[in-house]
């Protein structure tokens, strides 16, 4: 009886391939404020279609505080999703987790939390041995070569409401994570079960991908599975294949640098199917239709503003670090580097700028007038 209110395309799309084929349609990242969701706001057991199920009212109350592990587990039970639970001391890395949860229980996952220059966030959940190349990912998302970096700790707390070492697909249950894009490793589908943290470092659960999908759909998310190791050519005639998964809204987090009040007012333009060009601009663009001037503006501000300049340098350094060094501690190292070096480097950059300006200024005083 609800069929007229549900988008027929969603009924077909149980797996992500169909979504891709439909063209560059945005994934259904709508929240529970979606009118369809509201009308369908009944107990989960009513859902007959495989479309996104209504979520139970009690989800709303906890949005401000962040979902707890127990609330999540009881939700899984209510949805009749089969899972196995393993309790262990808090673990921060996959290596540590592997000591307590053996691979016979399921495939361990590594979960990465990225952000791009326009303050949009991404959770990438992959098999441990899947190689995640940030440069390739960035290009496939249409963000240029150095478009993404590890998100800072503050973002983890603010958006995902989890602690360090606890990034997990389940974090999207939080209202604060509504604009965070979630990409899952295609290879999960070949596993009987996969292992994730249920919002807490001292527990791991294993469940099948269909169980995970059921949960994600219950919170209004279409599960998106991607071949993370693919390295398709991105160019003029080959648009970035993952660009459709870039969130339409950027998220403003207080502690970040370059976070001006205007960032909230002008969210970056939605990249449409026809004009996907990799634009890696640190500032929200002022003339949305003119991509060329956006690139020019951003280039200028990186070289005019010492803080932006330093951010650019540290972005590239982190990128190299991630591609060269293996291991889960790389995130923490990159963050430490960034925190400790930003102030020193900014000081150096200001002196450099002052020196260049002074030389130019002096040259100006010695300049001879143009010959008529």
């Amino acid at each position: 009886m609800y069929s007229s209110l549900i988008d027929p395309n969603l009924l077909i799309a149980k797996d992500s391939q169909a979504l891709l084929v439909n063209g560059y349609r945005k994934p259904n990242l709508k929240t529970s404020n979606d009118p369809i969701r509201r009308i369908n706001n009944t107990k989960p057991t009513l859902f007959i279609f495989s479309a996104p199920a209504p979520c139970s009212p009690k989800f709303f109350d906890n949005d401000l505080m962040g979902f707890s592990k127990d609330q999540l587990l009881s939700q899984l039970q209510e949805l009749e999703i089969d899972y196995s639970k393993y309790e262990h001391p808090p673990v921060l890395t996959v290596e540590e987790q592997a000591k307590y949860v053996s691979s016979s229980e399921g495939a361990l996952s590594k979960n990465l939390f990225f952000k791009d220059k326009k303050h949009r966030y991404y959770i990438i959940s992959a098999m441990v041995d899947t190689k995640v190349d940030m440069k390739v990912l960035s290009q496939r998302l249409g963000l240029g070569k150095g478009g993404i970096r590890m998100a800072p700790e503050e973002a983890l707390a603010e958006l995902l409401q989890v602690s360090l070492g606890c990034v997990t697909p389940f974090a999207v249950v939080n209202e604060s994570a509504r604009d965070v894009s979630l990409l899952l490793d295609q290879k999960f589908k070949n596993q009987t079960r996969c292992i994730f943290h249920p919002l807490s470092n001292n527990v791991s659960i294993s469940l099948s991908t269909s169980g995970l999908d059921k949960f994600l759909q219950s919170v209004g998310r279409d599960p998106v599975y991607v071949d993370l190791e693919a390295n398709p050519v991105v160019g003029k005639d080959q648009p970035p294949d993952l660009a459709v998964y870039v969130p339409s809204n950027s998220v403003v987090i207080p502690e970040l640098p370059n976070n001006t009040p205007s960032a909230q007012a002008s969210p970056p333009k939605n990249v449409s199917a026809e004009k996907t060009k990799p634009v890696a601009s640190p500032k929200p663009s002022k003339s949305p239709g003119n991509v060329k001037s956006v690139v020019q503006n951003s280039g200028l501000s990186v070289f005019k503003n010492p803080e932006k300049f330093v951010e650019e340098i540290l972005d590239k350094t982190s990128e190299l670090l991630f591609s060269e060094v293996k291991g889960e501690n790389v995130e923490a190292l990159a963050e430490t580097l960034r925190k400790r070096l930003t102030s020193e480097f900014t000081h150096l950059a200001v002196m450099y700028k002052n020196t260049a300006y002074s030389e130019g200024f002096y040259a100006g005083t010695q300049c001879q007038p143009k010959r008529p």
Binding site: K304, N354, Y357
Partner: protein, 403 residues
């Protein structure tokens, strides 16, 4: 009327503390009572809510001087923040009296804070070098005071100000034109009696001194800088300074409405203690009373170890038992100014205060922190050329001053 009559009496008696631009002394050789000062001057305490607001508006952690209460008082800072939130910017104004070439860390404090304000709020800055004042008060020759002004400008630039947003000027070079017009307007509003009441002038002082206060007042008005703020007569001004400068700006705030200008806002700091302790006096004649920016790593280590007043107990046993007296301990005081990491400072205070950490360790950490700062400053200072000083001091527009 913001000027307090009590002040006249205060400058006579030695039983009250004395705080004015030329003299700072505590009651009975004790500590400065800042609460009393705030009361007496009529300014406001900078509370947590304002600091949180700054954090929100600037999207970055507030400067260590705000977190530790070094800058602790203000006038109208909340109004400046209100305006900023609405999109009305402001400009910064601070200055230095170039009395000597030897700058110590205490001198750098207002500049370090002003640099943070410039970066955090993305606003322009004017820096006044009052070479005329020092020429008059310290009886220096005009040439010498001008030379010192340029030398001090180099140390100021080394603090890391952005040349595209900063204008440095010396009074001898710049006074004239629109600046002088404002000076005369201000002077017309202040009677001799009032000036004597505020600044403690007497019949024995030469008239140069009497006519100086307008010079320090008018940089608070944007019309004094027609090359910087043309047509922006309503632009607000925020003045970071040490609290002993308050009298100049009380006078300025009194006069401003009468001239149709906005009152400048102030954000004020407490005094930086001498190495020998709060009761000691930092003086140019005693090189061991402060850490200078020209000190070597060895000098710093030596000075801290030998002259920094310790709150630790006489013997290790006694120290482990009672712990250190954090109230009078200079190394911890200095760390609270310069150690960025809040958690580490808390840890040190706890361990030292409860006797588990010894004075030697605290002094060692302080030496590290200060050596790092001084080294960084020295390197930056070495990069400042005469051409760079000329560029900072050139009367030129600053087209990107609010970016």
């Amino acid at each position: 009327m913001e000027v307090d009559k009590k002040e006249e009496i205060a400058s006579e008696s030695s039983e009250e503390q004395v705080v004015n631009p030329w003299e700072v002394s505590a009651k009975d050789g004790g500590k400065i009572d800042y609460d009393k000062l705030i009361d007496q001057f009529g300014c406001q305490r900078l509370d947590e809510s304002l600091i949180d607001r700054v954090e929100r508006l600037t999207s970055r952690q507030p400067h260590v001087f705000l977190r530790r209460g070094v800058f602790f008082a203000h006038r109208d800072f909340d109004l400046v923040l209100d305006a900023y939130e609405r999109g009305d910017k402001f400009y910064l104004y601070t200055g230095r009296g170039p009395s000597s070439e030897a700058l110590h860390l205490g001198h750098l404090i207002p500049f370090m804070f002003t640099k943070y304000l410039q970066e955090a709020f993305k606003v322009p800055l004017v820096i006044q070098l009052t070479d005329d004042e020092k020429c008059m008060w310290k009886n220096l020759s005009v040439e010498e005071s001008q030379r010192l002004a340029r030398e001090n400008a180099k140390d100021i630039i080394a603090c890391g100000f952005d040349v595209t947003k900063t204008f440095i000027f010396s009074d001898f070079d710049y006074v004239g034109g629109a600046f002088y017009k404002n000076m005369v307007k201000v002077a017309k509003c202040v009677t001799l009696n009032k000036a004597m009441g505020i600044f403690g002038f007497s019949g024995e002082d030469h008239i140069g001194k009497l006519s100086f206060p307008p010079v320090q007042a008018v940089p608070s008005f944007p019309s004094s800088f027609p090359h910087l703020f043309p047509g922006k007569d309503k632009l607000r001004c925020l003045i970071p300074c040490a609290i002993d400068q308050d009298p100049y700006f009380r006078m300025t705030r009194d006069v401003a409405p009468r001239l149709g200008y906005s009152k400048p806002a102030l954000i004020e700091s407490s005094f930086f203690p001498a190495l020998q302790g709060e009761n000691g006096k930092m003086s140019a004649s005693d090189p061991n009373s402060a850490i200078y920016v020209t000190d070597t790593a060895k000098d710093i280590k030596n000075k801290i170890n030998r002259y920094a007043f310790s709150g630790g107990q006489d013997s290790i046993e006694k120290h482990r038992e009672i712990g250190a007296n954090l109230e009078v301990d200079i190394p911890v005081k200095y760390l609270s100014f310069f150690l960025e990491d809040d958690a580490e400072l808390e840890h040190i205070k706890k361990e030292y205060g409860e006797g588990r950490m010894l004075t030697g360790e605290v002094k060692k950490r302080l030496t590290e922190v200060l050596t790092g700062m001084v080294e960084r400053h020295r390197m930056a200072r070495a990069a400042v050329t005469d051409e760079m000083v000329d560029a900072f001091m050139a009367v030129r527009p600053l087209p990107n001053m609010f970016e």
